[in-house]
């Protein structure tokens, strides 16, 4: 028995083995899936919700006077309210449906950013950002002659908050930061970051892609200005993401894309734009996807985010403890506040080889730079192996991972 097993009691009310049965791909194949940070698997209820939408409730929304279209619209808008409650937004119109986190961040860069960032202004990000929270700001800064500043992290992969604070100044217009790092699992102090940024007059964009399936998010409490997330990371389908924005900010912003749904009136001389959130939702959205996304949020709420968080914290401690005993294994990312992600390297074995062998043993992990090349550079590695956890992972999954790593070591000894 490892020390983690002795110290940390299991959450008796939450049974991950039973939860696993809700996910057909895990139930039917015996797959050990440790790549949920890339994209999570889908429970039956989400698959059913999508099928039901198309087989019973489907028509285009915000258009028809017929009953079916009205029902489809009501169902779609109900998910907006579900999302509002899920993340603690003050109003449903603060929820904008987009494709994914990447599009949500690009939307802010292309609208608020273009409107408010000028020559010599600064955008502040951190060293641990995913490429999707680097490149849109880089593009904006290049276009506007603004400067991209990067707050450093320490060798555990924790943000150096004092250095971050030093980089804030009156020229800082936007602060964009990950809630949880996808490559390291570091949980950033986003509430404190927001407070500091606001004190310098900057707006705060939080990349919540990794936080949303693991962590109770309350945007009102964080007081952040924008929060971006992807449905597919929280057990929903691909193709649906959310941008939360404070109503007053969204109202002040120009449209993102032009087209149907986002207008009030169209004349060849001049068109006027719809109110928020429709102003940012040009064209027919992913109606079936939004139905599935709503079911995913209901599923997570029913299991309870507190239970999920407790389970994952226990599993992370169990895994960290066992992996530390594997000879030659180096954990990459050991910040004091960590969630659901274990990045590591194995001495003398390239991550790609580790990934192939684990795959052969029926274990899916991600290997590579995790769309965070600056993080890899910081730790002096070309790539890592990343095992990421979700509510359906069990201690048995971790045991299998550790066993398979012994196979790797045996092969490469």
């Amino acid at each position: 028995m490892s020390s983690a097993e002795k110290l940390i009691p299991r959450d008796e009310g939450f049974d991950p083995a039973r939860v696993k049965l809700d996910f057909p791909i895990l139930k039917n194949t015996g797959l050990i899936f440790l790549d949920s940070a890339a994209s999570a698997q889908k429970p039956q209820c989400v698959i059913d919700a999508i099928a039901n939408c198309y087989s019973r409730d489907y028509a285009n929304i915000h258009r028809g006077v017929y009953e079916l279209s009205a029902r489809a619209t009501a169902n779609f808008e109900a998910v907006r309210e579900t999302t509002q409650l899920f993340i603690g937004a003050a109003e449903a119109r603060e929820i904008v449906f987009v494709r994914n986190t990447t599009e949500a961040i690009n939307l802010v860069a292309a609208t608020y950013g273009r409107q408010n960032v000028g020559r010599g202004d600064e955008v502040l990000i951190t060293e641990m950002e995913h490429h999707s929270n680097i490149v849109p700001w880089q593009m904006l800064c290049e276009e506007k002659g603004a400067v991209l500043k990067v707050a450093p992290m320490d060798d555990r992969g924790a943000l150096m908050l004092d250095e971050f604070e030093k980089l804030l100044c009156t020229r800082t217009k936007i602060v964009a930061v990950a809630h949880i790092s996808n490559a390291l699992g570091t949980v950033n102090p986003v509430k404190e970051i927001t407070r500091l940024a606001h004190a310098h007059g900057a707006v705060v964009v939080i990349d919540g892609a990794q936080a949303i399936p693991h962590h109770r998010v309350d945007v009102a409490n964080l007081d952040c200005d924008f929060y971006a997330l992807s449905g597919h990371k929280v057990f929903g389908p691909t193709g649906v993401g959310v941008l939360y924005g404070k109503a007053a900010l969204l109202e002040s912003m120009p449209p993102y894309q032009g087209g149907g749904s986002m207008i009030e009136t169209v004349r060849f001389e001049k068109s006027t734009y719809a109110d928020i959130p429709q102003r940012f939702e040009a064209g027919t959205p992913d109606i079936g996807g939004v139905a599935g996304f709503g079911a995913a949020l209901d599923y997570v709420s029913e299991l309870g985010l507190d239970s999920i968080e407790r389970h994952e914290r226990e599993l992370l401690a169990y895994a960290t403890d066992l992996l530390a005993e594997v000879p030659g294994l180096r954990l990459i990312g050991t910040a004091p506040q960590k969630a659901a992600v274990i990045s590591f390297s194995l001495e003398g074995v390239h991550p790609h080889d580790v990934g192939s062998i684990l795959d052969h043993e029926g274990i899916a992990v991600r290997t590579g730079h995790h769309c965070a090349q600056p993080v890899m550079e910081h730790f002096g590695v070309p790539a890592t192996v990343r095992a990421s956890l979700a509510l359906y992972n069990t201690r048995e999954d971790i045991d299998a991972l550790v066993r398979a790593l012994q196979t790797v070591r045996e092969l490469f000894k």
């Binding site: 003398g348 074995v349 390239h350 991550p351 790609h352 080889d353 192939s356 062998i357 795959d359 052969h360 290997t367 590579g368 730079h369 090349q373 890899m376 070309p382 790539a383 196979t407 045996e410 092969l411 490469f412």
Partner: protein, 151 residues
């Protein structure tokens, strides 16, 4: 451990991974090309010294997985002294071997030591690793100055 894993990671491959041969820039080179696999971050550079249509010397540097490192190492050993056309023909044969249908009988391609990579055909995700150095070598032979990628 299953046999196809052993087949992929044969002892020759593991040895060349641990102790890559010609893992340096030769004193005299006149053609160079870089190979990058954006998927896994493998990056290596192949250096050639080509005179009168013959590969007089060859070396490589960079980082990569066991398959790409061993493949680069064995490639440098094999093509040293070869005519350009021979090296190109060998690349073609090598590529055919690692992309062959796993169900088919292994063809007699006369690839000599390189046949240790025949197990790669069971692992389609690893074909790019096995061919990375070869793509770079081919690029260097034509020295277009471009970076070879496996994408």
């Amino acid at each position: 451990m299953s046999s196809d894993l052993r087949e992929l990671y044969q002892s020759v491959i593991l040895d060349h991974n641990k102790h890559p041969r010609n893992f340096c820039k030769p004193a005299c080179t006149n053609r160079t090309a870089e190979g990058i696999n954006p998927l896994c971050g493998d990056q290596l550079t192949v250096y050639l010294d080509v005179e009168d249509g013959v590969v007089k010397d060859v070396g490589f540097s960079g980082t990569g997985c066991a398959i790409s490192t061993a493949s680069a190492s064995l490639m440098t050993q094999t093509i040293k002294g070869m005519k350009i056309e021979e090296a190109e023909r060998l690349f073609k044969g090598f590529r055919e071997m690692v992309t062959a249908d796993p169900q088919s009988e292994p063809g007699d391609k006369d690839l000599g030591k390189l046949s240790v990579f025949s197990g790669v055909r069971e692992f389609p995700m690893r074909v790019k690793c096995a061919t990375l150095a070869w793509h770079a070598m081919s690029e260097a032979l034509h020295d277009t100055g471009e970076t070879a990628t496996t994408e």
